[in-house]
């Protein structure tokens, strides 16, 4: 019996299925375990009704859909960071040109940015923008002040480059001086008689040379605005991304350097001092990527006042992770599935995702991000996982188009007609028939299924897609409209914190649902009504896509007419009669229209035909495959311990999982529910050993442990041999327990005893080998800690395990 008890697949159903999308799934996320032969083929159940090249088609469709979604997320992030990026770049460029006059001495400029989740993209943006300003220089407008066109040379400094002060200075100096395509030609230096390559004077000499070099360059470019003294100083800013200079902050652990933190601290203190002494001649800007938040500022906590006094520290905080997640969810995806108002959704009407995550998935993501990790990485990974999970379904090869990987509809139809894709065709047909006529299934059940017309089916798929998209669009717009009404009309000013907004959405949705919006709207004053209508009008007016505009033509007309009916704002305002009959009438009609409009659009997306191709519906987030096996945020320790304690439960759960995917046909291959709880001897070796381990004290005597293990194995051997060979078994038992009770009985004849003795010897060796193997497995899993002093004792690492 193998001792890796969790992952033994009871029946292996073809190893070559792994080329399909499920195994891609594990590859891309890195969340699944590497060797999960059992889980991967479990998806193969769908193969019954899959196309021959279904996995590849779906993989392609997935790639297209995910790439769209991913790019959109990136553009959202970029927009989110745009202002911050501009601010940082501005500060870098103006660091030494725009200085407060009257300071006692020049300060070194430090910009410390805290970007929780997604700092790398922010830095990439900053770098890009800095490079852009550099590129723009030659093309710069003559009238502009050249100081605004500071080229910024920058180097990246990583904690790994900075194990000590000398190395850090060397990294800084050579980083600038020795860059290949630098503006100054590199001059050969003698290693002994020249300045050391960690000497800041070297950088200074280089910078002086650089200044002269660019000076001549400038003279050619801006003959009119050339101002030698002032521009020379400010011409180049060195922007040093001390990517987590403060090593303790960075996520890319500094621990590998292995210096005690006090040394590190001293080192950076002196580094700061070194650099800030040279500030007047070397405009260095430090851009620090902090991973610790800005409010209990790490910089202020770490550096003494004397060091801080040399610097001009600016703390900049990027939008927090939660904001980013919300923003991304709002814009990227999303519908809010069905009428369950449980998702935080606001959506970008101008972006149509291929796949819409359903309520439960969004719920999960939101919960995870608020609770555990609001980083962008986590969000993207989870969305990707959801996407991939979605493409398990064979029908999803229609996600982007209905051509099935061919170039035309007729080719696709003939592909569908081929005998190999018959099951797929049937399932598709059933779905479409079912959608159009729910009772039809009863009729076709008994009769032999006739071959459906493939081309027609494909057209229907296409129609369903169009219909689905129309509905989803309508829903997005309706939600947007509802938000506008909520924000402007019902007095919720959108300046609260995120969580409140989330709550407000829920309130709002329930208001909409209960039709109370109408009542609230009727009570609006003229000014408010004006504001609401104006906002709505602007919203409809600014819709980007022509399709949407055409669809929402009615609503626009409606709003314009309502605006026309409403008495002008200023006239009424003076009269102070907010409840004049004319206003009430308009308000009522608007309210009624709004309720009807929203009701029309807030429909269940599940009602569409083939909805599950484009919509994940209420399927859960693929976080948990079975009770003990989580893909996202697992609890490995508990899982391992409970697997060791109850290996059979795991096997059982596994078989159930398998049954769920493969249908009831294979349900009998593993133990049933009413199997009695297995006794100890039925367990795998490691499990037996672990049981014995749990019964021990803090220290475990390895020999005693072996003894007790051997007893169980003996028991196991006896029972497995059955009642067949009692004598042998007895002898074996006796052998094994020789140390325990000394007085063995001589009952058997000599010949048999001899063979028995040989066998017993074998058995003994086997027991020992199995013990050693099981012990090493436990050791490998970290349950055993060796004491240095007592050779035959080990220390337990896990106590009080719930039984």
């Amino acid at each position: 019996m193998s001792s890796t008890c969790i992952y033994i697949p009871p029946t292996e159903s073809g190893g070559d299925d792994r080329s399909g999308s499920p195994s891609i799934c594990t590859n891309h996320t890195g969340l699944s375990h590497e060797d999960e032969p059992g889980i991967t083929p479990s998806y193969s159940s769908f193969q019954v009704r899959d196309l021959p090249d279904g996995p590849n088609l779906r993989l392609e469709a997935y790639r297209v859909a995910w790439a769209r979604c991913f790019n959109h997320i990136h553009s959202i992030i970029r927009t989110l960071h745009a202002t911050l990026t501009a601010e940082i770049v501005d500060q870098i460029n103006m660091s030494y040109t725009d200085v407060l006059p009257g300071l006692p001495y020049p300060e070194g400029s430090v910009i410390a940015v805290h970007a929780q989740g997604g700092s790398s993209s922010l830095y990439a943006n900053v770098m890009q923008q800095l490079d852009d300003t550099e590129d723009e220089m030659p093309r710069g407008d003559v009238s502009n002040n050249p100081a605004h066109h500071n080229g910024a040379l920058h180097i990246h400094l990583y904690p790994a480059n900075c194990p000590n002060l000398v190395a850090t200075m060397k990294a800084i100096v050579t980083g600038f001086v020795d860059c290949e395509d630098g503006p100054v030609a590199n001059v050969k230096r003698k290693p002994t008689t020249s300045l050391a390559n960690y000497d800041i004077n070297l950088l200074r000499a280089w910078y002086d040379a650089l200044g002269q070099y660019t000076l001549s360059c400038m003279r050619a470019l801006w003959p009119n605005t050339f101002r030698p003294k002032s521009t020379l100083q400010n011409w180049s800013c060195f922007c040093m991304i001390l990517n987590s200079l403060i090593p303790l902050l960075c996520k890319t652990c500094f621990t590998s350097a292995g210096i005690p933190s006090t040394v590190r601290l001293a080192l950076y203190k002196s580094l700061r001092n070194v650099d800030s002494m040279h500030i007047p001649r070397l405009p260095l800007v430090f851009l620090l990527d902090l991973s610790s938040p800005t409010t209990p500022s790490y910089i202020h906590r770490t550096y003494p006042r004397s060091t801080l006094a040399l610097l001009r520290v600016r703390l900049v905080s990027a939008p927090s992770g939660a904001t980013v997640v919300k923003e991304v969810l709002d814009k990227v995806d999303t519908s809010f599935a069905s009428l369950i108002p449980c998702t935080d959704t606001f959506f970008d009407v101008d972006f149509e995702p291929d796949i819409m995550p359903g309520a439960r998935i969004l719920d999960y993501i939101i919960d995870f991000t608020t609770r555990h990790d609001a980083s962008l990485d986590a969000l993207i990974t989870m969305l990707q996982l959801a996407y991939m999970r979605h493409f398990d379904e064979p029908l999803t090869c229609f996600a982007s188009d209905e051509l099935l990987g061919t170039t035309s509809l007729s080719l696709a139809a003939s592909k569908l007609q081929s005998p190999a894709s018959r099951p797929f065709l049937d399932s598709l047909h059933t779905r479409i028939v079912l959608a159009s006529n729910p009772d039809a299934i009863a009729g076709t059940d008994g009769a032999p299924p006739r071959a459906p017309d493939a081309a027609q089916l494909l057209t229907e798929v296409s129609a369903a897609h169009t219909e689905f998209r129309r509905r989803a669009r309508g829903m997005r717009i309706a939600l947007r409209v509802a938000r506008i009404v909520q924000r402007v009309g019902l007095g919720h000013q959108g300046t609260r914190k995120d969580r409140d907004v989330h709550m407000d959405d829920l309130e709002m949705l329930s208001l909409v649902l209960r039709g109370r919006v109408a009542r609230e709207l009727r009570k609006l004053s003229v000014q408010q009504l004006h504001a609401v209508l104006a906002e709505l009008h602007a919203f409809f007016h600014e819709l980007a896509s022509p399709v949407l505009r055409r669809e929402e033509e009615d609503a626009r007309v409606r709003i314009v007419s309502a605006m026309a009916q409403l008495p002008p704002d200023d006239l009424i305002a003076e009269a102070e009669t907010p409840t004049s009959p004319a206003v009430t009438q308009v308000a009522t009609s608007v309210a009624e229209w709004l309720v009807e409009y929203l009701g029309e659009r807030f429909t269940r997306l599940e009602d569409c035909a083939l909805w599950d191709v484009w919509y994940t519906g209420s399927s859960p987030f693929p976080a948990e495959l079975m009770r003990y096996m989580k893909l996202v945020n697992p609890a490995p320790r508990v899982t391992v311990v409970s697997a060791l304690l109850r290996p059979h439960d795991f096997m059982h759960a596994y078989s159930q999982l398998k049954r769920r995917y493969t249908g009831a046909a294979e349900s009998t291959d593993e133990g049933d529910d009413d199997t009695p709880a297995p006794t100890l001897w039925m367990h795998p070796d490691t499990s037996i050993l672990f049981r014995r381990y749990m019964e021990a004290g803090r220290m475990v005597n390895v020999y005693d442990w072996f003894e007790s293990f051997a007893v169980v194995l003996e028991d196991q051997r006896r029972r497995q041999n059955g009642k067949g060979d009692k004598g042998k078994e007895k002898a074996g038992q006796e052998d094994a327990e020789m140390d325990v009770d000394e007085d063995g009985e001589d009952v058997d004849e000599d010949a048999e005893a001899e063979t028995d003795g040989e066998e017993a010897e074998h058995w003994k060796v086997e027991v020992q080998a199995r013990f050693i193997r099981a012990l090493h497995e436990l050791d490998y899993m970290g349950f055993v800690k060796h004491t240095g002093r007592k050779a035959d004792h080990v220390i337990r690492t896990v106590y009080d395990v719930p039984d």
């Binding site: 725009d98 200085v99 407060l100 006059p101 009257g102 300071l103 006692p104 805290h114 002060l165 000398v166 100054v184 001059v187 050969k188 230096r189 008689t193 020249s194 300045l195 050391a196 960690y198 000497d199 000499a205 280089w206 303790l248 960075c250 621990t255 002196s270 070194v274 002494m277 902090l290 610790s292 938040p293 409010t295 209990p296 790490y298 202020h300 006042r305 801080l308 006094a309 610097l311 001009r312 520290v313 600016r314 905080s317 990027a318 927090s320 992770g321 939660a322 719920d363 999960y364 991000t369 609770r371 555990h372 609001a374 009770r627 945020n633 697992p634 609890a635 320790r637 508990v638 800690k785």
Partner: protein, 581 residues
Amino acid sequence: MTTEDVADAFVPAGYDTLVAHLEILLSSYPPPFIFIHDPEIPRITCSVVHNLLSNLLQPSQSSARGSFAFVDAVATFTPRLFYDTVLNALTGWDPKWEDGCENWLGTDGQRWNENLDAFLHGLKAVSMQKPVKGSDTSGKGKARATVAEDEPHRMILVVERAERLKETVPDLLVPLTRLAELAQVDITTIFISDVRWEGFRPSLGASPEPYYVDVSILSKQATIDIMESSFPADTASSSSLTDPDTYHSALRPLYGHFISTLYSICSPFTRDPHELMYIVAARWPGFVQPVLDAHRRQIEEWKRCSHATNGHPSDMPPSDASEDEAAPGTEQEAQEPLLVPPTEDVRIRLTRLFTPSLTAALDALYPRLTNAEDWARMHKSPPDLLAVPPAQVPSAFQAAADSSGPAEGGIDALPRLAKFVLVAAFLASTNPPKSDMRMFGRGPDERAKRRRRRVSSPRKPKPGTTGGAVKIPQRLLGPTSFPLDRLIAILGVLLEENDVETRPVAPQYTLPGEYTDMEISRVAVYAEIMELASIRLLLRTSSADKLDNTPTFKCGISYDVALRLARDVGVMLNDLMWEPA
């Protein structure tokens, strides 16, 4: 030209004695090792000494011939850097990029930075160097005397922040104090430090006793004089933040008054002129803005009048109230009104308005919680303050402050679980481990134990008796370290009591507490702890490479932060603390 003339021109107030003292010493027969101790403001002392030396040894001076090197012990963190910097400075050599940044090599192109011996030879070479006429190596300290060529010239080596020598180049400390003796040249070593020589003197008397020079503490008048003399003369160096006229020469008297007010407020906390000037730089633009606004309004009035009267500004009615305040009695008839010092009334009014903000500036700027520029931006004075009626002034200040509040960010944006972990870490760091069972034990048996123990071991000594030493609460003593398991256990209690309702439903967990048990053993919890340790909100006290040992941590947040986080997640922190605040 006497030496006094030279010195006087560069000496800030309060440093006369130091300068006179040093000057006499250095121009006659200096001791080989001088130690200048300035506990207060070594930075100014350094600049004074620097000025003195560059004047004393400049080529036009015939009284002394020599060169000096000014090195900072922080910057010269290896012996090689030290040798290079000193020799280059003594010879006035400026390494050029085009020459491959070569150091000064002397006549025979020898390498001087190899070790101490080479350095001493280098010093000898410097002192023996015959200045060549028309040499391309001209520097500020370069000796160019033409008289008495055979006389070796004097060298002075000043080491700033000398206490750092002990850390950066400990082996050099003793040789530097005996440099003249070792190199057999006329060289004087001066250490400037804010630490006393006893603080880092090499043991066993390896160094000779220095000649001590103590810098006296600056008097009030001297400090104010220094600050006043630093009124930026050049208004061209203004930033986008300040008005171009902020440092107009007409405002100089007001500046003087402003500085004395500021000194009287801040001197109990700091008397460092640089620190005070830092605060001045941040506050002065806002302080003077109302005066400038009033002046600008006056100019506008004048322009309008001159337009109205068709180019006859002399008819302008002098009825403007602000004019009386800002520029009484100026000749605004003939030309545009000039900026003049404000009247006594205006000055007193401004001082009264801005005095509260001076203490605020001290609070924020002295510990550098923010920088001067940002502070000045955040505390701009409300527009046209002098025209605002006195009753509305506080609200105007309020509005100006509100408009630019600091952006919210930081610890509040942490995920919910991270907040729980931090609160748990704070509790684990402040509560004694023995109290855990009593504070967090939940269940019948623990409660019984708790009651019993409380009876048996009274915590407080009886009133009246001293009970030994006064017990200081752990909260004030700093965090203690705790093992990871304890943190997880406390986290479990907190989660079980405060987080159960917010979790998504999980019907598979039936036993009470099973769900929480599962939650605290998840990867995300451990990941969160490591993440917090990496951003230093938890401080890891055990070494990270030892996988065998259980990791220990310390809490890295203060009581206030912990309280805020606890309130955020709904934990009653004070109830769970062994010694509540």
